[in-house]
């Protein structure tokens, strides 16, 4: 049985095999990390949507991505509410403003989100807990991931936002996504106190929630039929595809992490090939002996292929563990939604198998050198 021989050969020199496994472990880890970035970096654009409660998004037909959303008449939301399946349509206002400490200093750009605190728009415990705080006049909540440039983010600190004196009511933890360096969250009334020149009858986003049992796709169709051409309607999957496509294709993001992924794959093959070739070189006497007792080249090839798969499978497990650890670390450092889902896991495993097979075939050449006459 080639499998048994392959296994024996691997466990015979435990130290060497451990070293080789270590090399392959790094190669697989590299693929995990690059794939994670490739998938997660564009997802940064979905961070805030991912923590909002809605089934359908109504927005301007000029909507590009979250930070360039455009505005549409608030009256469209009233129209949306007339559709039978729609439970609620809540407005979200977005604005850019300057943030400055009450005692002067730098004027830093901040994004301001205006919502009805009681509408339960954010599925973020910190925000829900502090919804009453947002109702206080001239009070905002700030995102804890707001950069240090903005100064200490403690409650009761007084700052100027868009030239108006505002009080930080509290801090919540969500992350700023790709919306800028900092985010302040305000009630509608407070939002318009900061942006008095903005027409109050236009909104940036309309969050539509549906009645239980309603089908999002069909309701989206109904809304598209009833709403004029100045708006468009996204279901959640459509929105995710739209935002990710924006960041992947319209910016350099996709290319950079895509090329990183390709490079990691090639490097993986190189590492695996080198490791296997070294193994074969070291085991050449054993292979020559097998040849001498009459085994065919095919049999030896099968052993190498199995060795390759075995060693990769063994390296895969700790690589997965390390990847999960690194993902968690990067998640907490950058707040990128770096997670491992089943398709990604499958993809890495598939890539690993392809790498193992490719490098095994590359290293078969060394095997032909096994000459029984040289051993004895």
């Amino acid at each position: 049985m080639p499998l048994q021989v392959a296994w024996r050969m691997l466990v015979d020199q435990k130290g060497r095999t451990a070293l080789a496994t270590g090399g392959i472990f790094i190669a697989i880890l590299l693929v995990f990390i690059e794939l994670g970035f490739f998938v997660a970096v564009p997802q940064g654009g979905m961070l805030i949507y991912d923590h909002m409660r809605f089934d359908l998004l109504v927005c301007s037909n000029r909507y590009l991505f979250q930070a360039q959303s455009g505005q549409f008449p608030r009256a469209r939301l009233a129209v949306a509410r007339t559709v039978a399946e729609v439970k609620e349509a809540s407005p979200v206002y977005l604005g850019g403003a300057k943030w400055q400490d009450a005692n002067g200093g730098l004027k830093v750009d901040i994004s301001v989100i205006g919502i009805d605190p009681q509408a339960g728009i954010f599925a973020v415990p910190d925000i829900e807990r502090q919804s009453a705080v947002m109702d206080r006049p001239d009070t905002v909540l700030v995102d804890g991931a707001t950069r240090s440039l903005f100064g200490p983010l403690r409650a009761e600190r007084v700052v100027d936002i868009a030239g108006r004196r505002m009080t930080i009511g509290g801090v919540y933890k969500l992350g700023t996504g790709f919306l800028g360096l900092g985010i302040a969250l305000a009630s509608e009334a407070n939002f318009f106190r900061m942006f008095p020149e903005r027409p109050p009858d236009t909104v940036n986003l309309g969050l539509v929630s549906l009645k239980p049992g309603a089908d999002p796709d069909r309701t989206a169709e109904a809304l598209r039929a009833i709403l004029p051409a100045d708006t468009q309607v996204f279901t959640r999957p459509e929105l995710a595809a739209h935002e990710v496509a924006y960041w992947t294709t319209r910016t350099a993001t996709g290319l950079i992490f895509g090329s990183g992924l390709v490079v990691s794959f090639v490097v993986g093959i190189m590492v695996l090939y080198q490791t296997l070739a070294t193994q074969i070189t070291r085991q050449l006497p054993q292979f020559a002996t097998l040849k001498a007792i009459g085994h065919t080249n095919r049999y030896l090839d099968a052993i190498v292929l199995l060795e390759s798969f075995l060693i990769t499978a063994v390296a895969f497990v700790p690589a997965l563990g390390a990847a999960l650890l690194i993902y968690a670390l990067i998640r907490s450092e950058t707040l990128l939604p770096l997670t491992l889902n089943a398709p990604q896991l499958g993809a890495v495993f598939l890539i690993t198998l392809v790498m193992a097979a490719a490098s095994a075939f590359l290293s078969l050449g060394g095997l032909r050198r096994a000459d029984p006459a040289e051993v004895f």
Binding site: K98, D109, V266, V267
Partner: protein, 395 residues
Amino acid sequence: MTVAETHRRFVDPRFVPLALRNLLANKGRLVRSSAGIGFAVLLMLVQLGFERGFFDASLATVRQLDGDLVIISRSNYRFASADPFPRSYLATAAKVAGVLSVSPLYAAWQSFSWKDPAGDQSYLVQAFAFDPDHPAFLLPGVKADAARLKEEDAVIVDRRARRFLGMASGTGKTEINGRPVQIVGGFALGPDFMSDGTVMMSEASFARLLPGNRLSAADLPVEFGMVKIGPGADPSTVQQALEAALPHDVRVLTRPQLIAFERDFQADVSSAGPIFWMGTVVGFVVGMLISYQIIYTDLSDQLPQYATLKGMGYENSYLVRVVIEQAALSALAGYAPAWLACLVVYRAIGAVSLLPLHMTWELTLLSFSLTLGMCLLSGVLAVRRVIAADPAEVF
């Protein structure tokens, strides 16, 4: 060949380039090992290049500013942030000794909506305005086409802007903020992480296109004051005189100071830096693994030769030196083709991503030191194999 010559060529270790011969002995192996090390080098170079490219892209506009000194609002925290000051400050600055000329640079990042000439969609772009007689940028295209900006609603555009903006041709008509404009020329700047493209125009056009603007060109708030100093004037003396003459809510920076100001901001907020540094470290670790495996395999292949040398009486120290030399040569053999391949990769990725990826001396030196470091380290780790070589086993 005399006996002495033969002895010198084949026996005296000082004259036998043994490491080089070992490297060249098996051409197939040389190609394989160069490819392996080369890929690790390429990985590091690409990651380092991206890191620099991100940085250079964010500094490209600032580096192209044409002025010896720049007046900027004291509360401003980055170049691309609207934080204007009154235009009257420029007249004050012009009177300071040593100042040759002061011209205003207007800018907008959040209020110019550019319509793709070939489509319907509009996008936010970065907009600059200046006196066409005193173009505020060093870009050759700006200098060449600035005079045409005196025409009503004429703009020049960034030919290297992201392609969906439709700016590449530098000609034609489109709309900005719903108003028709004529594209009269172009320059090559490239996008950064704030803006996808850039338009430039005269003060008069800027005042007309700015949404909700009720000011004439002469009353527009100024974003930057571009100061040129007279011949022979000392920049830091003029800088101090300007600081003293101007109100406290602005400050005066030399060009290098302005670039450093922007660099500090980008380094502080960008998360691109750590990602690519991590990539470089991974490249180094992977390179270590590959080069260790290669050097180890090579040594195993050549073990009989080393054992023979030992049998002939050579010291371990000599063999160690050969191994280390060979490791250094492997580094070189892997580095050279990877460096050349990287030029092609930079060009290809740069053209598609519009990132300024350039091979520099600094990058070359840094990546070569990393390569040499990983190969030497691997050589040191693998050398035990040679020290353990037993002549008795060979025969």
